[in-house]
Structures are given as structure tokens and as C-alpha cells.
Symmetry: C2
Subunit: 368 residues, 2 copies
């Protein structure tokens, strides 16, 4: 299963909106065939592995199939994989996670069992879910898996009062941040960051076959048409301000304006934005924004993980990482779990995850 997960990792950037899946067919400790899901419309992992075995002239009847996700049992752009698996007559199928779509979870496994094939489930479940948290979130709850990337000093300062934030963390941390950008479907920022830094929001330090889509939360539709992030593919602009004239002008810069007003004037309905993105096939959102949007997303309960780079420096009187309402008691603070702590160059990367949100995914993806 470790090898199947590693195969799934190799297609991290190309399967969206489909899940990243790997499959290895083994007999007597020997690999007969292996594969990973190809870009949408292409074959899924099980089919790739079967074709690989055929190309090697191997017979797979009676072999053990390791697959990181329950084989699909429905017609999409491709026929159901489970039929091909059953036809191959495996001796056993080992599955890491179930199909996270609550309406489908278990039907692939049921088909295998009905064909008399022994099925083992839940092997490397957490690792498989990590690879496809976004797919699982979209399928099970109708919103993308969303993380905020932050960079700050040890005392939580992300910029000086002068606005200077380049560079608190070092080059390896910034490159690692680009790897997180690269795996996401959407890189989201706020109008404050656009006006302050005029970022390109592209992936630069990682070789990727496609750039993630760019998106901006711009409540009052104040963005300048000369912003650098418009260079390239279509940009999504989420706004509360319905201004067809400006929207038309922005369309000429390849921007799509989506009007989703929230309860407060000039504020986007962030939860609706997340649902909109999931409907538009977004699995994973990488947020790279200032304290305002970061805090607003946290307050709106739109954040699943925090990817924070902490630099070995204390800055004292400088700008904070998140704007959040003042608390009167610590019980009011929502705690996450540190799930990964890692040195990255001279900095440290701390990944935090809200446990209730991970629990929901786990429940949805537990094989039935």
C-alpha cells in the first residue's frame, strides 16, 4: 500500500478534480502491474495497473490488488473500475479508504464482495485521506479542503508596520510554500494583499504541469485592472458589489466576477464562496492572504488547516497574523491539532488542523 500511495503522490498535480489514486498488483511479493490515475477522461489507477500487467505479459488472476481508494462503481467519463477489477479475478483486494461520496461509499466494495473476492479495508487510511482530503471534502460536505499559508516571526508578526514582509522566512520556506500552492486547485488572496504586494500568485519554485487557478476576495470590487495576477489564465473575483460595468471591464482582463454578498455591506459571503468553488470542481484551496481575510475565513469557519512557517526572530512591535474578535476568555478560542512539525531551512513549518473537520472527512471516507 505504501507503493500505491507513492504512485498516487506522483499524480498530485494532474488528476483534479478527480482523486489521486494509486494501484499495485502483487503476487508472492512480486509486482505484476502498477499505475496511478491519469488526468480527467484518462484511465483510473486500477485500469492503468491492469494495462501495465498486460503489457508485461503477467496474468493477474488470483493476485492481490492494493488500491488507495475504493474502486469506482459508476459511469463517469470512464466505465466503472470495479467491473474491470472483478473481471480480472483478483485473489484479494486491499483498499485504503472508501469513496467519500456518502451516496456511493461501499458500493464498489459491495460489488467486489458480491463477486466472492475477499476485501481488506482501512490499510494506510490516514495517509490515503491526506492525499485526497480535498476530494473527500467536496464529495462529503460540498466545500473544498482549505488551508491558510502563513509566515511569521516566533512572536507571530507577519510584517513590519512599514508593510515590509519580504522576507521574514527564508528561501527554503518560500519554496515549500510554493509546493503547497502547486497542489491546490485555487490560490486565494484578498484585496489588501493585492493592493499592498501586487502578487503574481503563480507557482514558481516547483515544476508543475498546470498553474492553479487564482482567486481574489474583493468585497467592494476595487481591484485594479493592471494587477499583475490577471496575467495568465482566468481569475475568479469574489465580490459583494454588483457592478456590471466594472465586471465587463475586468472580463477583458480575463477576470470572472462572482457576486456573493454577505450579511454586512461590502463583505463577501465566504461560506457561499466555498460552496460555489466546490460546485465548480475545486477540491483544495490554498489561502495566502493578510490578517484581515485570514481572520474572516477563520471566523466564518471556512478553514481546515493552517500551514505556518515560523522564522527564528522576534519582531515585537509589528503586524499580527490574523484579525480575530477580542476574546474575554481562553475557552472561547478554537484549538487545532499540530499534525506535522518540520524544519524547513532555518525556519520551522507547523501544520495545524481542526480536529472536528478532519473527523468529518474520516467518517465520510471510512470504508463500508
Amino acid at each position: 500500500m505504501g507503493q500505491a500511495l507513492a504512485l498516487a503522490q506522483t499524480v498530485l498535480y494532474i488528476t483534479a478534480p478527480n482523486p489521486r489514486v494509486g494501484c499495485v498488483i502483487v503476487r508472492d511479493g512480486r509486482v505484476l502491474g502498477q499505475g496511478a490515475t491519469q488526468p480527467p477522461g484518462g484511465p483510473h489507477a486500477e485500469i492503468c495497473a491492469l494495462r501495465d500487467a498486460a503489457a508485461r505479459g503477467e496474468s493477474v488472476a488470483g493476485a492481490t490488488f492494493y488500491v488507495t481508494l475504493e474502486p469506482c462503481s459508476h459511469y463517469g467519463r470512464t466505465p466503472p473500475c470495479v467491473d474491470a477489477v472483478v473481471a480480472a479475478a483478483p485473489g484479494r483486494v486491499v483498499v485504503a479508504m472508501g469513496d467519500p461520496n456518502p451516496q456511493v461509499n461501499g458500493s464498489g466494495l459491495a460489488r467486489l464482495r458480491a463477486a466472492g473476492i475477499p476485501v481488506t479495508t482501512g490499510v494506510c487510511f490516514q495517509e490515503a485521506l491526506e492525499l485526497n482530503a480535498g476530494f473527500a471534502a467536496r464529495m462529503s460536505r460540498g466545500t473544498p479542503w482549505t488551508w491558510i499559508k502563513m509566515a511569521a516571526s516566533l512572536d507571530g508578526r507577519s510584517a513590519l508596520h512599514s508593510g515590509m514582509s519580504q522576507w521574514i522566512t527564508g528561501a527554503p520556506a518560500r519554496a515549500d510554500g510554493h509546493a503547497w500552492r502547486a497542489r491546490a486547485d485555487v490560490v486565494l488572496t484578498g484585496m489588501g494583499t493585492v493592493s499592498k504586494d501586487d502578487p503574481q500568485l503563480t507557482v514558481r519554485d516547483v515544476a508543475v504541469p498546470r498553474q492553479p487557478r487564482k482567486a481574489v476576495v474583493d468585497g467592494r470590487l476595487q481591484i485594479s485592472e493592471s494587477a499583475r495576477l490577471f496575467d495568465g489564465a482566468e481569475v475568479w473575483l469574489f465580490t459583494a458589489h454588483d457592478d456590471p460595468v466594472k465586471a465587463a471591464r475586468l472580463a477583458r482582463r480575463n477576470a470572472r466576477v462572482i457576486v456573493l454578498p454577505g450579511p454586512e455591506p461590502g463583505r463577501v459571503d465566504l461560506a457561499a464562496m466555498m460552496r460555489w468553488m466546490a460546485r465548480n470542481h475545486v477540491n483544495e484551496v490554498h489561502v495566502e492572504a493578510g490578517a484581515g481575510l485570514a481572520g474572516a475565513l477563520l471566523s466564518a469557519d471556512c478553514v481546515d488547516e493552517i500551514v505556518a512557517y515560523v522564522a527564528p526572530v522576534l519582531l515585537g512591535d509589528a503586524l499580527g497574523m490574523v484579525k480575530l474578535p477580542m476574546l474575554s476568555h481562553l475557552d472561547g478560542a478554537r484549538r487545532f491539532d499540530f499534525v506535522d512539525v518540520h524544519a524547513v531551512g532555518k525556519d520551522v513549518r507547523l501544520r495545524g488542523r481542526f480536529p472536528d473537520r478532519w473527523q468529518t472527512l474520516q467518517t465520510a471516507a471510512t470504508p463500508r
Copy 2:
């Protein structure tokens, strides 16, 4: 040498102001004797190891002596260890670090070499220096090795505006903090913390043979005689305010007032305070203070390490970890190195160390 270091670790709390030293005598992979430095006035590690070998009926002539610190060559409360080592006629002596006293470094090794004993130096040098950074700092630069213990949210907030700071971090992090208190000679805090929290400043979660001394920076000598920290052994109060009447009253609470006025009124000369402590045999200072004193110590360049516990929570609008002057450019920020990153319960401990200060110790302790 690993075993000798482990022995030195066992006397972490009892050798001060002497260094923590371990010695293991080995022949053909067999331990003939071992020992660690005893409390002041008691035998040093080499003598303990020789006595242990004698008690076992082992002859140590020709054996290899592993010792974490260069054997002493001068008469203190005990005769020089190097004479006893030479008399034992070892086949070889392996030493981790030199004597950090610049006037003494090398003389113990020279005595061994003059006696024709082969000497190997620098084995596990960093680990040995870690154990005795305080001794090395006091000997080589005349100030204690000083760390600040901090606890904060991921966004660097150490307390709510309401003053509430109990408890941002969890019980395991607090217990680990007590282990750092325990190894120090002095636990230092500021008047702000005393008036806000009325702390006891004692070691509670670790079994220790002695409590570290308590000390307070109280520029205006405003401390109340009813403060809880006066319960117990003598407390040092560093002040800029010469008030013999109050000092006499405080003396009845077992407080010793040390007047060290700095350039600004009501401010203690913190560098002079550190020199005063070293003259009074303090090797290691554990600072547990609010943002004011923490920032002042950093600004006065009195800090060697930062021991920061980061909790998995974001607090936003709350109090910061350190008060430091506003910077106009990031180049002005003094960077440390993260030397240890560690999960402690649900929190993460990050240890930072200023590399120039460690370099100074390394230079002083390099065996000659």
C-alpha cells in the same frame, strides 16, 4: 562518551556552581568504573570513577578514561583531578570539551600529555557544552547563560487583554517548563508578572533536591512584602531605586535588595545584573517574565536562548510576547537559530539560540 554524558545528566541539579561532569573508565569494551561530579566540596567525576573501579576491585592502569570535561589542574575545594588521573596510568584519556576558563583551558590536557598519556579531544563536544553552557558562560565571559521561557499561541499571543494567560499551553508544556526552571540556578521574573500573577516561582512538576533561587527585576522597588514568592529561601531583588527603609522591611521577608541603576530612571542595569549574578556563582538563569522584561533583556543583549512553547490556537487581538522597539527594516532584526523543535503534549517547543553567543562558548571550550 555517551555514557559519560548520561552520568553527567544525572547530576544536573546538584553540582552548581561546579560543572556537571561524567567519567567512565573502560577496557576492552568493559566498564571498570564510572562516576559523576558530586555536590560542591565532594569528589569530581574522575575521582568518583576511580573509587568505583577500586570498589569493584578493578585495576585501571592502561584503560581508557572518557571524561566530559578536561580534568581540573588546580586546587579548589578538592585537589586537582588530573594528578589522580595521571597516577592511575591510563592508556588513553578521551575528553569532550576543554576547561572553559580561558586562563586554565589546556593545562589539564598538557599535564596528561606531559605524563606521556595519549589524549583525544572534542568527542561529543556539542553535547558536553550543552550540559555546561552556564558554567562555560560564567567562566569565559563573566555572565550566566540565560534563557527566556515563553508560552504563546501560534500567532504569538501570550495573554488575553483581560490578562488571562492560564492556560494557553497544556499541562505537559507547563511541566516541561518546570524542568527548565529546575536546572537553572536562578529563576528571574519582573515586577509586572509579580503584581499580575503573584507567582510562587518554585519548581513543582519535577522532583529536585534544591529549589533554584528566585530573583525579581523591580526597577522602582514596588514589590509588596506579601508577594508569595518570598515564601522560602532568600530572594534577590534587583532595583534602580535605593530605598534603605523599604530594603530593610523586605529583608525581614528574606529578600536581598541589590541596587543597580541603569541609564534611565527606574530601570535596572540589566547587563550589570548579569555580571553581578555571575560573580555570585550563578551559571544559568531561567527568565519567566512578561513582554516588558523579556523585551528589555533582549534589547540589552542579555539573552542566549529562547525556550518557546507554541499552542495550537490563534488568538488574534491579544497581548504579545515581547516589547521591542519598532523596526523600519527587517535587516534590523536579530535572528537566532532553531536548535531543537519538539512536540510537548499538544503544544510544540521551539528552542532558539543566538549563534554568536554559542560561538563564543564554543571557542572558549574548545580543547587546546
